[in-house]
């Protein structure tokens, strides 16, 4: 029996004519797993999209990183959501669990990342069911990249890393809303990524224990939250091994600073406690 190649990822979404049946989105009958988005009908489509992009005002205020080492993949992120100067939340979950052996990171527009990662999770599960084996990380990232490429120029803002463990070993891909898909060993994404790279590149070795790797990731994200105003909150560190992902730690950055740099007692205070008491 010949296996049918799954070509659904190659189909473009917005050439499907969309009938708005009240809820704004409908699943077309021939490919039920591909949601077809309603597009506005207006004279100047590109101008309208540009205006919407400005209105939504996606700010990539974040720091996420991931790297491959001999025991799998470490994925870490901060947890701050900022709208311009205002901090809207310090407790955002930026590491999205796509399935038990694959993680995605969120940078850019929160709604975009959450929706498309969930959508990717659906596609991966359907692939598993129709092909009787898990999808590879390369395949999953390609699915996402093709979807994002078809929406290129329409104002999606996603800078994500797909990290996981499959038959070929650990896999790490960078995928963004411009349609880029890069394979690599070390990535950091977001406004604080440059600061994180400085620490990550300096401390990285391929052969590390899981604790050492987690501490490197934690230190790199901490450094980025210190220097970058748009990153902060808590550092979450995940490890993806042959058995799937596991959350290693979630530390508040405010406390982490005083853990790395404890407050020094000034000399004057010490002199006063050492001075012997005189008796009358």
């Amino acid at each position: 029996m010949a296996m049918k190649v799954d070509m659904s990822a190659l189909e473009t979404n917005f050439s499907i004519p969309c009938l708005d049946d009240g809820d704004g989105m409908h699943l077309s009958a021939d490919s039920p797993d591909v949601p077809s988005m309603v597009l506005p009908t207006c004279a100047d489509f590109d101008g309208f999209q540009a205006a919407t992009k400005d209105m939504v005002k996606n700010k990539r205020g974040t720091t996420t990183l991931a790297f491959i080492f001999d025991k799998g993949v470490i994925v870490a992120a901060d947890s701050r959501a900022s709208m311009g100067g205002y901090i809207s939340s310090q407790t955002v979950r930026k590491i999205i669990e796509i399935n038990p052996y694959m993680l995605g990171t969120m940078a850019g527009g929160a709604a975009d990342c959450q929706f498309w990662h969930r959508n990717l999770g659906n596609k991966c599960r359907l692939h598993e069911l129709s092909n009787k084996r898990r999808i590879s990380i390369a395949g999953a990232s390609k699915l996402l990249a093709n979807i994002l490429y078809s929406y290129r120029g329409m104002g999606l803002s996603i800078g994500t890393m797909i990290a996981g463990f499959d038959e070929k070993g650990p896999g790490l891909y960078y995928v963004d809303s411009e349609g880029a898909r890069l394979v690599g060993n070390r990535f950091s994404v977001g406004s604080g990524s440059l600061y994180a790279y400085g620490i990550l590149d300096e401390g990285y070795r391929f052969n590390m224990s899981v604790e050492e790797a987690a501490e490197l990731a934690r230190r790199a994200i901490y450094g980025a939250t210190f220097r970058d105003a748009a990153s902060g909150g808590c550092v979450s560190v995940y490890h993806v091994g042959p058995d799937g992902w596991k959350k290693l730690s979630g530390d508040d950055v405010g406390e982490l600073h005083y853990h790395y740099y404890p407050v020094q007692k000034t000399p004057v205070e010490q002199e006063m406690t050492d001075a012997p008491s005189t008796s009358a």
Binding site: G61, D78, R80, S82, G85, Y86, I87, Q90, S191, T225, F226, R227, D228, A229, A230, S231, G232, G233, V253, G254, H257, Y258, V263
Partner: protein, 191 residues
């Protein structure tokens, strides 16, 4: 913020260029004389230059009048100096606090071209000014003693800057009473 025969003036300690933090020990609250302090938020270079110009004017005043400037007079001086640059302003919003005649606390704030705004309870300026207004409004009580005033000001400052990306990285609080000045550095979130 005004207390009972005393006042508190506080600032955060960050110096940054848009999103990048350059320093975490930048001084924004300056002493003019023992009972007069000015805090300058906004562009760092303008804050330093304005402070140097004001110290110069105050020293000349001291030589001529043989006494320290009253806070009300100083506020008018700052307002005039800022309005001189109406069409090319200093990008600073000052907060002035002092003990006037009979050690009555005096506070006022200004926008960057010198519009004076006097208040009886508290004044704020900076990127987190909206948060600060909210925090001070809820935490302020009239006639607070110096210790309680310090607690209130520190809590209001820390709570507000924790909601602002561009401010924080510690706090610097001065409590000024007729007899002494207490200067304290407050531990804050360093993100």
């Amino acid at each position: 913020m005004v207390g009972k025969n005393c006042f508190a003036i506080a600032s955060d300690r960050r110096l940054g260029v848009q999103l990048q933090t350059i320093a975490t020990d930048f001084q924004r609250v300056f002493k003019i004389h023992d009972k007069l302090y000015i805090g300058l938020s906004g562009l760092a270079t303008d804050a330093q230059t304005l402070y140097q110009r004001l110290v110069f004017r105050h020293k000349l005043y001291q030589l001529r009048e043989e006494r320290d400037m009253k806070p009300e007079t100083f506020a008018s001086l700052v307002s005039a100096m800022l309005y001189e640059r109406r069409f090319g302003p200093y990008f600073c919003q000052p907060v002035i606090a002092g003990l006037g005649e009979n050690d009555e606390p005096f506070i006022c704030t200004m926008d960057c071209i010198g519009a004076k705004e006097l208040a009886k309870d508290f004044v704020v300026s900076g990127t987190s000014s909206e948060s600060l207004y909210g925090a001070c409004e809820s935490m302020y009580k009239p006639n607070m003693e110096p210790e309680e005033l310090f607690e209130t000001v520190s809590q209001a400052l820390m709570a507000s800057v924790d909601r602002d990306c561009l401010a924080g990285w510690g706090g610097h609080v001065f409590i000024v009473t007729p007899t002494e000045v207490q200067e304290r550095v407050v531990k804050g979130r360093m993100d």
